[in-house]
Symmetry: C2
Subunit: 216 residues, 2 copies
DNA sequence: ACACAAACGGAGATGCGTCTCCGTTTGTGT
DNA sequence: ACACAAACGGAGACGCATCTCCGTTTGTGT
């Protein structure tokens, strides 16, 4: 008796390969990426994909449970930071970068898919976020009317930016988040320099004018 | 000779009905809304839709040229506001509300579709935005490192939030924008009260815990 | 080595939204 | 009123991603 699990070895291996391929495809193309392509990249047949993950939702959920888990770990570390402001702001920046580097992650945040009730994790993350925010408020470093939901609004905003342009996403999201965080601090807190400005989109079509296009 | 246009009267009427129906469907369902449903709502056949707008893109473009036009008008008004800060911040809030009330508008902003080169409008909007931002910077009311692209980042962020939850979108976007604008002002500027906090999403699945769920 | 269940693969059925085609209707100018 | 082009409608062809089914292969326990 060598069995370390109820599953056959090849089944476990294929499941792993599928999750990896799906992660890659979703990161590149968003959660609408083709399922058949995922199967192809994983080197398995379509049937195998559907046996492991009966619906797209099941696959998305499995892939992003992992990402959410990573951010939860970061979150719990951030709660213990010596400086509550540093813990708070660095966590938001770190998650923003994850969003900017993974189109699919931004997708699930924006659309709300792939996050069916996660039981214990849900409560753990909620409790940790409350702690993160309340420490920062208590230390007098962020505005007293700040809530957990406000921090999530910032992430939703970052996801909107990240979703746009894979190329400049990281730089754009960082600039956005740093400036937004300046609005979260208590009035008069000292500000550091913001990261460089990035052109992500223009209001009417692509900007072929360049920065030299002056008024008049 | 009664012709006021090269188009037949029924053709013009149907075009109008199609634009209206498309605007409604896109606002509710986003720009992926079914084209056949748009034809049905407009009370015309599918063939008529495709004759007027050969591709989905053409229809999206026609619908949102209108929305962009509205924001451009608001923008040019904002440039003339007595108080540059008021003009600047009110414009961003006004466009945010438009985004929150029209899922399709948020879509085109996030995805960048429906905004092929718009010629004169592109330059007009760019020039107006430069003026709006530079006036506010010159008056010393917003941080001196602020750029046009930063204002667009805020709108992209607002679109990300608006995209999420039609129900609470307006309230959420307002709270977001007001707080973000606090990060745009010069350090130490006096802050007004922020609109109430709104729960838009939780990190792991729906929050059934409620606000009473305390740490520990 | 054997036997049996578990898992696989991929051709093709299914479902669905997009788009076309053509017989019919409706404006328009005379 | 007539004639002709313009525009219409909607049934159904098409394309495409999803998903199933079953003959074949591969682990696993004895």
């Amino acid at each position: 008796m060598t069995s370390t699990s109820v599953f056959r070895a090849d089944a476990r291996r294929n499941r792993e390969k599928l999750l990896e391929a799906a992660g890659a495809v979703f990161a590149e193309q968003g959660v609408q990426g083709s399922l058949d392509e995922i199967a192809r990249r994983a080197g398995v047949g379509a049937g195998t994909l559907y046996r492991h993950f009966p619906t797209r939702e099941a696959l998305v959920e499995a892939v992003f449970l992992d990402r959410r888990g990573q951010s939860l770990v970061l979150l719990e570390v951030a709660c213990e930071a010596d400086d509550p402001w540093v813990g708070f702001s660095e966590w938001l920046l770190a998650v923003s970068r994850m969003l900017a580097e993974d189109r699919g992650f931004a997708d699930v945040i924006i659309t709300g898919n792939g996050s069916k009730d996660q039981g214990a994790l849900r409560k753990r993350s909620y409790v940790a976020m409350r702690k993160l925010v309340s420490r920062a408020v208590a230390s007098g470093q962020i505005r007293s009317d700040y809530t957990v939901d406000d921090a999530l609004l910032l992430l939703l905003g970052a996801a909107g930016i990240a979703h746009r342009s894979p190329a400049e996403a990281v730089a754009a999201v960082e600039r956005f988040m740093v400036m937004a965080l300046d609005g979260v601090r208590e009035t008069g807190a000292r500000r550091g320099p913001a990261p460089p400005s990035v052109q992500v989109f223009t209001w009417f079509g692509p900007n072929t004018l360049g920065p030299e296009a002056e008024d008049g």
